[in-house]
Structures are given as structure tokens and as C-alpha cells.
Symmetry: D2
Subunit: 334 residues, 4 copies
């Protein structure tokens, strides 16, 4: 059985998923929808698929599943629509910027019994999977401390920042998901600190560009996350896990695996500069995991609950910055 | 214009090229030929192309170019056939095990004016291209010494070894091509030493599994090549170039970019174990370069002359081992 | 002029300083004092110096300076004694576990005009000096974020832990000093989280073994510190500084710079396992810096004020853990 | 028992050995001799030892052993003199540039039963010892191929080059010794290639600056050595050994273990630039090994035979370059 896809949203990330679907032997792209006709046409031309409206896709019997890549404020509505239509749903993170809206949406998903997967692509990166594998095999013993450094090459456009929900909900949310996954235990308290260091305009928009977070679980495991919107040397994505018997770390990816030695020293190229290049394998694995979950009927590896909990950590972090105190996740999720 | 391909030979390397053609927006696979029907059918099914005989492909007006992946002893005949039919020809190395046969074949290519490219895939590896780029930009000054370490994870099957023409013509030939490319000057003399260390059966078949070679150009530039048919830690592929102002080196590719630290030390995974995984980007770039050369009408980046010269170095190396002396390339090519 | 030293305390760290003094052409060890005769004798024998009581050393005209390596609870008294006797004083950290006692002691130092240097050895490590040098040369632009990972191979004996003042005052204090040094600006607020993960006995003694700290300066620069009392792979000491134009990091030191490749992967030896081996060059540089400061009459590179401020950060961190909130350093130092 | 030393030659390497003797608890420097009074005085002042003539040292009952650091052409005579006087002898390499002279000298050593150690310092480098340890423990199985890259930051002064005996006898000789040590089997044949690439004056002096060598043992094990008199990035000293079960390699030493990341990439400092800095631990271990051999009465770890065989390989390499053929060591040693 080949899973037949409708793609909602033909922007940057939509193109990535269209490519991943094409390269997956168990998936096929049937139709694309986008408010901008030219964007939909580009995908249709490259992948030989139909252009349909969202409503038509919802009623198309030749479509089994949708990938939602539309703007964030449409995600929850679309999830509900397609869940009710009996389609399997893959939705880019976040489900919504409002925790209450996410909860309501997930209730619909639960009632309809729909398959829902939220796009936390990093869990599907081969290196991070190898890190998780080492943990699961017991190589480093019991997990104690997780360290995540995640820095973007540069800030997104200001108009994106203004509607992103802030750095914690837009950027750190990936690290919150990674931390939960690697800690193997839910964080109970969140402490965070935030500054504006790279561009005052970010501060004027009410956001931060430089943040640090400490998470703590009931048993005392901890994770620290360090984020910056600017790293001149490329897209910096490192994780490290300390356990009772050792540690495991994933290294960055460079533009090329070469080293030049001169009188000035030994120089290796900067890091890959763009999340799509860095995570190309992750996006492919992610769609494959979704297809597998739908075909085999089990739960998806990154559920609506995962989306909810990562968002709750983001909200708790923001509250911690604002109130200068450790915030319990239960305050947020209650 | 999309270049329309016929694929001759549907074995392991044939599949690699079929995949590269599919992923190239300027190329399409029209037909495949293979003496083994099941092999041809597998390719035809996966890529939606025809199955035709070699003769039919030669006469097909809807085919512009062929990729020759048949057994080595058919290469020269097929090159001549398709050159005469006006097709552009991409041929896996080597053109032939006999230097005289290669020369005769190249004469036909020259007379017909056909486009010919020989498959020295490593020149298209992104890391090695970055090494060459650093040289060409003058970053390391004038090239002086090239060091190439090339080791296979394990020896090929004995029946392959028996008809491979020996380690110099089968394995070192890639390094000879790399050395020529990186030295920027033709080697004039060859010194080589060879042993059987990994499996006596290789020696019984008249071949070696462990060889070292020194090449020297007219101006005194040198290259050393070290080869083994066995490296337990994976497919070892390193180059390093020393110049008057510095050095540049390409590192190996691992199964994953992680490191595990325990009381026993810090461990990173073994190297990618298979040439197709290691050189997946190189094979894609190689076909793209061939397509570009055909479309733009220039010469190919790896010509028949390159095939001839690499083979001459292999013959000189073997002669050096047998006679215990420095062999001049002019003795071989005369 | 050779600086003539008296050594107070002939234990583990006393021996390190005795060795550093011997290897310094501008320093000589005149006498040692220790409550344990055998310890003093061992030093006297190895270095050919006298054994004297602390009181005698205080009155010895042939002694210019003392190195205080006695138990922590004697430090402040000894500093005051020797400051009043006109000796230059090098004292191991901390000056005292009580902030008030430190303040009183520094007042005496100020009144006497004595030279005082506090032993924050890490600032004198060649790698960390190179990191600081890169910052000072502007290579990474304006400092934004500092990351310090500092993990001991194993916890000290429980009786040491009980009188150590706790992990923040005993272990993290080094990192607080490093953070201040690298941030180039005083931290204003401290957030910290702490757990007991490696040994319940540590918790029973009222201490923690696993802590994370976030520091924030007035301009918004931040530092994160991650500590554990257990790292099976050795003494883990890493710093990384992110700036507006780049980043700089110092790597760990291994037992040997070799790598073994097998079918299981590529393995490098564990880290140096002991702070004295790891920081042997730092201890030598530290004494040399003290000698230079005394000879040249300038201020010492690590002053009593540095000792005070690092301790204040430790106290703030502990308070942050206890009260679950961001603690302002001004609350502590006021 | 403390071994009482006389030092012959107070130049650069003499100072290194004087320092190593001072730091060795089982050794003491009693006297120094040098044709240049100021040089001897400097050592005498720093180490508090006597200045004596060579003849006086030879007859001094309070001297057990000598370290010979005089010019090469005096080595053999001095070895013979001190062997006859019953002193233990440590002599810098080479014993002599003439193989016959070395043989005659070793005969005297044998007749007198004197202890002789030749200064192949690299065998005592902790990293290289760790490499050898891994081999001896069987970690990499049976040794098959050794690769040695050895490059100086820059050529020595021309007047040194003129009397050095040429690059093979002066520089490669260290690598020949390493190769013998790591191969675990005597090389039988030598192939070498040589050029002048860094400075024509070296060629005018009849020497080379860029050489490659292949050694082969009876069982087929091979070693390759690549040398250059110029490496802008520092003193390049790498060894790698491939065995049936894996490989082991030693890495270079840098000026500092830091890395700077900017938009231009990730840069680590150049290598340590000077053999004395790079091999400071090796020189200390070397003297300690000599002292141990004298005290314990066993054979030295680097014997006169080792000096002879390394020189024979150098002579064979030069002959191989001159005659363009594989030279058997037996032709040289016969």
C-alpha cells in the first residue's frame, strides 16, 4: 500500500516534505493546496501532482493523509478538519501558540481517533537517533544531565519574529522536545534567563535572541539549553548526554570534511548554514516514520501530546524569565 | 534539453547510475539493457524505463547517451560501437585492462569525435573537490607532496580478483587518477612495493593485497599511495596535499557523527563501510558533470586520456614490483 | 631578586606549589610548616628547605612570601597574620566559607597594603589563557554567552564533602571565577538548579552532586555552568565563549594523543583523570604570576576581591536552589 | 644509587639533557665539557656542576656515565674512549656518518662490555609509546603497514645541511628507527625517491628536502615514510600502524588546545614548532630509561645496533634514489 498525500502549504517547508514524499517508495503526492497559486503550481509541476483546494482535498477519496505546512494560526483548525474527515495528519510544529487551543484540538483528535504526528524533525536525525540509541542500549548508564546548544546562523525576518510567539515557542521548542526525549522523564520545573544581544529590533518586538534554560525532572535529572539567534560560523546543533556510566554527544555538520593547515593554524569549513541542508536526512526519516505509523496502525513517534508538552515548557520558560523564578510545568498545564 | 540515457548493465554500479540519472533534472533514463533479464526488469520497474537490447539502444533515435556498466572486457567494444553511432558515452573505469586496446579504442573515439567520459567518481566527491578547490585558489601554495591512503573494508570475491587485472589496475587506479589530478603535473616515474598480508588466496591468484607506491613528476613533486584490501574500521579514503604555503586534507566519513565517552575512552563509530554509501554525492555529481559536458559541448572532466594514463601508472607500478626498480611511464606509454 | 617562600601546609596541593617554586628561576623555597611532621619532612627532604613553625616563618626575615595550603578554616587568620607581618601572600581558594569573614579579612589586607593573590589556578592554564587572548584581541567580537562544563572524575571523600561548604563553594567556585573572567562584566543575577544523582550519601550530607547555573550580567550577557561530581571518562574541563563575530572553545586533555580504530570504531584514551596532572602548567604559571606581581609591585591577577565575588556567586546559587528563584548578587554582597 | 653524569657538549641538545638529568631523581650532573667556555659556564651556572675537560671527565672516578652531545664527527671516538674508561655512554644519534666507522666503534663497545644507548628520542614519546603499547597488547592484531609523516617547520642552516650527511642520515634516520620499532621485523629492501622543492640551495649542497621511502620486510610488512624540510603549519610528526584487526595512530601536538569559530570556519592553532618543545617528555623519559638500564644492568632500549641499522637504511635509501632501484639492506650491511 502506498500512502497518498495531500500537501497543504507550498512554501519552503512544504517543498521539503514534497521532496521527502517523492523519495519514499511507500508514499505518493496526489495534490497540493496553497493560497498563492504560483507556489502550488511550482510544486505541481515538479512533482506531477494535482492542485486542489483544501476543502477538495478534505473530501478527496484518493487522499489518505495530509501534511500541514500552512501558517501556524491555521494548524489547529486544519488538524480538526482533517481528523474529522478521517485523514491521517502530519502537522508542522507548533499546533498552536495557545496552549488552550492545542488542548481543544487534541481533544478532537482523540474523539475522532485520527492519526496525528507533529513535526519534531530533529528526533529523526541519524546522529541524534544514534545518541538516543546509545542511551537506550544502556551504554552510558542512567541519564543524568542533558546539554543542548542550538544556535541559528541568523535571526529570521522581523515580521516572522513578530508572529512567531517568541523565541521559546519558535526556536527553543525543538530543544524542549529533544530534552524530553533524551531525559526519558518529564521536566517538572523550568528556569530560564533571556537577553537581547544580537539586534535591538528583536527586543523592540518584545522578543529575546539569547536564552538559557534549565529543566529539572522529579528524580533530579536536568537539562540545560543554550540558544542564540546568531552564530557566524553556521547552524550550531549539538547535544550531549551525561549518564552514570559515560556520556554521548552528537557533533555538528560542516560544509565539507576538509582541513587546511597554514602558518595561521588548522582550519575546517563553517557549519552547514541552513536547517534544510542540515536536516535533509531527518526530514526523509520523519515522513517515513509517519507513513509507517499510518500503515502499521501504531501510535506516531511524535504525538500531539509531545506538541502540547513542548509548548508548555516554552510557556513555563517565558514565565520564568518574566517572574524571575522556577516555574513548575504543572502551573502551566493545569 | 533533457539528456536521454540508455543504461548498459543493470548490476550494482548500474543501479547507482540509474538512481543518479533519476535525481538529475536534466537527465532521463529511457532504456536499460542487461544479459540477465531479471536485472534489467528490476531497473525498468523501479525507474519506469524500457528494456531494450544493446543493439537496439545503439540504433534508438530517442537515446542521446549511454552509461556503460557491463563487465570490463566489453567496455572498449561498446565505446567504439556507441561512438560510431554518435552517442555520448559514459564508461565505468577501466576502458580495458590492455593498454594497447585502450589506445586503439581512444583512436576510434577521436576519429568519430564522440564525447567520452571515464568514471573516476572520486574527483566528484564534494570533500575532494574542496581539496582541489583549495589548491586551485592557491591556499597552500605550490603543490609538493600528495599522500593518499585508500583501504577497502575487505577484499572482493576471489573470482572477481582473478579477472580484475590485479590490485593496481582495479583499486590503485582510482588513486593514480587522484594523484594525477592533485599533483597538477604528470608523474614520470613509478616505484612500488607489494605484499600479500590479508589472505594467501589472493597471492595464489597472482595478486597482492597491500601495496605502496611513490610517483615522481618532472619537477620533483611526489605522491605516495598506500593501499590495503582490509581495514576492519571501514572504508578508509584519505587524501592530503602538502604545498609551499600549507597543506590540505580530506577526512573520512563515519556511520554517524557521534562520540561515546566511557571509562574506556572516547569512541566514534566506524567509517561508512561501502563505496556506494561513501560516494553517493560523488556519483550524483559525476552524472551531472557528464550531462553538462554533453549539453555544453566542452570536453568531459575525466577523459579517455585520463583512463589511459591511470592504467599506464598501474602497469608501471606492477612492473616496478616485478623488476624492483623505478619504472618510467614513458617505458609503458611508448 | 629571587622571591623567598615559606610554604604553609605540606599536603597534596602544597606539594604542587613546592614543585612550581622549584621550577621557577625567580623563586626559592626556604621553609615549610605543617602540623604533621612527616608531611613537612617529606617536602623538606625533596626540596632541601627548612622546617619551621608557622610563627617562626611569620617572623623570618629571610622569607618574603607565603603560600597558604592549610585547611580552609585557617585561611583568613593566616592571611591576616602574614599581611600584618608584611609578607606577600598567596592563598588557596577559598579565603573562607563565610562571606562576612572574607570581607573582614580583605579589610585587614587593604589596611596593611599587603600583596594578596587567591589561587584560581584555571586562569593560568595555557589553553584558557589562549581563549581569553582570543577574546581580548577581538577575534570573536563582543562576548555574549559563556558555556562551562566542569565535571570531576569522582566525588571527594565524604568527610571532605561535609566540611567543603557544598558543591557551589568548593567546585563551582572555580567556574564562577572563570565565568566572571570570560564574561568581562559582573554577573547581576544567579539562577541555579541542583540534584543528587551520583551518590545518596552526598544528599544525606546536605550537599548536591549535579548542578546547573545561569548567570546574567547587567547588559544581558549570560553564562551557563554545568557540574557533576562524576564523569567516568575523566576530568572534564571545557569552556566555550560565543561572541558577536564568532566563538572560541578550549578542548579537554587526554591521557595520550592517540586513536585506535577497530571494527567497533575509533577510540581515543580517556581524559587526564586528576586536576594536578591536568593543570600542571597552570600551577607553574600561577606561581610565576605571583612572583612577577610581587617583584613588579602591581596588583595580582587574582585578587581578594575575585575570591570574594566568586564566593558571593556560590552563595547566590545556593540561595537560588533553596528558594527557587533568580537571586541578585547585590542581595548577597550588600 | 644516583647516576653521576658528565655532559660532553653544552649546545642546544646538551641543555635539554642537562635539564632532563636535573629533573630525574636518580641522576645528577657532576661536570660539563665544551670547547666553547661560555657554553660550559652557562650550564655549570644553571646546574651547579663543575667544568672539566673531556679527558678529565674520562678519568673522573666520581662520574659514572656520559652524555655525548658533541658534533657528529667526534661521536665514535668519544664512545670508544669512554667505553674503554668503563663509563656508561649515552650518545646522540648518529654514531657516525660512515657505516664502517660505526661498525668498528660498536666492536670496541662490545669488547669493553660498556653500556651504550643511542639517542632515538622518539621511542620515548608518551604518545608513540602508547601506540607501541597498543601493538604489543595485540589491539590491532598483526602489524601490516606503517605510515610515518615527518616534516620539519623549516630547513636547518645551510652549513649544518652541508655536514649533516644528507636528509636520510640526518632527518629520516629517526623515522627509520621508528619504522623498525613499529614493524617488529627488520626491513629487507628500501625504495626511495627524493626531490628539491623548498630551496634550490639545498640541491646545490647535494642534498634533498622532500623524500618518500618504502620499506619492506621478509614477511611483506611495509612502511612508508614521507619527509619534508618545510611545513608552514609547524613540526609535523605523525605515525599510523595498520594491523589485521585495526589501526592505531598518534596525532600532532598543537600550541594550544583551542578552536576559534568564525564565518571563515573553525581554526585550531599551528603545531608546536620546535622539536625540543614537542619532545620534552620524550627527552625526560629517554634519560630515565638510560639511568634504569645502567642501574639494573640490562641492555639499553636503543642500542648501538639500532644506531647501525637505522644508518644502514639511510644509506640504502640514498642508494635507491641514486640508482633508481630497490636496494637490499644486506647490500649495505654486508
Amino acid at each position: 500500500m502506498t500512502l497518498r498525500f495531500g500537501l497543504l502549504g507550498a512554501g519552503r517547508i512544504g517543498k521539503v516534505h514534497a521532496g521527502a514524499i517523492r523519495n519514499d517508495n511507500n508514499a505518493t503526492l496526489v495534490a497540493v493546496a496553497d493560497a498563492v497559486p504560483a507556489a502550488a503550481e511550482a510544486i505541481a509541476r515538479e512533482h506531477g501532482c494535482d492542485i486542489r483546494s483544501i476543502e477538495t482535498i478534505a473530501d478527496s477519496p484518493d487522499i489518505d493523509a495530509v501534511v500541514i505546512c500552512t501558517p501556524t494560526d491555521t494548524h489547529a483548525d486544519l488538524i480538526e478538519l482533517f481528523a474529522r474527515k478521517g485523514k491521517a495528519v502530519f502537522c508542522e510544529k507548533p499546533i498552536d501558540l495557545s496552549l488552550q487551543r492545542v488542548k481543544d484540538c487534541l481533544k478532537v483528535v482523540e474523539e475522532t481517533g485520527a492519526v496525528l504526528m507533529v513535526g519534531f524533525n530533529r528526533r529523526f536525525d541519524p546522529d541524534f537517533m544514534a545518541v538516543k540509541g546509545a542511551i537506550d542500549q544502556g551504554t552510558i548508564g542512567t541519564v543524568e544531565m542533558v546539554t543542548i546548544a542550538s544556535r541559528d546562523p541568523g535571526a529570521p525576518p522581523m515580521d516572522y519574529i513578530r508572529r512567531s510567539g517568541g523565541i521559546f515557542r519558535d526556536m527553543t521548542i525543538h530543544d524542549f522536545d529533544m530534552a524530553r526525549w533524551l531525559l526519558g522523564e518529564e521536566p517538572e520545573t523550568v528556569m530560564a534567563q533571556a537577553s537581547v544581544l544580537t539586534d535591538p529590533a528583536i527586543g523592540e518586538a518584545g522578543d529575546y535572541d539569547s536564552v538559557n534554560v534549565i529543566l529539572r525532572t522529579a528524580s533530579g535529572r536536568q537539562a540545560i539549553i543554550t540558544n542564540s539567534r546568531r552564530a557566524t560560523y553556521g547552524y550550531d546543533q549539538r547535544i550531549e548526554v551525561l549518564g552514570s556510566r559515560g556520556a554521548v554527544a552528537a557533533e555538528n555538520h560542516r560544509e565539507a570534511n576538509i582541513e587546511i593547515a597554514t602558518a595561521q593554524g588548522f582550519t575546517r569549513p563553517p557549519l552547514l548554514n541552513f536547517f534544510m541542508t542540515r536536516y535533509v536526512a531527518a526530514y526523509a526519516n520523519e515522513i517515513a516514520a509517519f507513513v509507517r505509523a499510518v500503515r502499521e496502525g501504531g501510535s506516531t513517534p511524535t504525538t500531539g501530546e509531545d506538541g502540547l508538552r513542548a509548548l508548555a515548557l516554552a510557556d513555563a520558560a517565558l514565565k520564568s524569565v518574566q517572574e524571575g523564578r522556577a516555574v513548575r510545568v504543572s502551573e502551566i498545564l493545569a
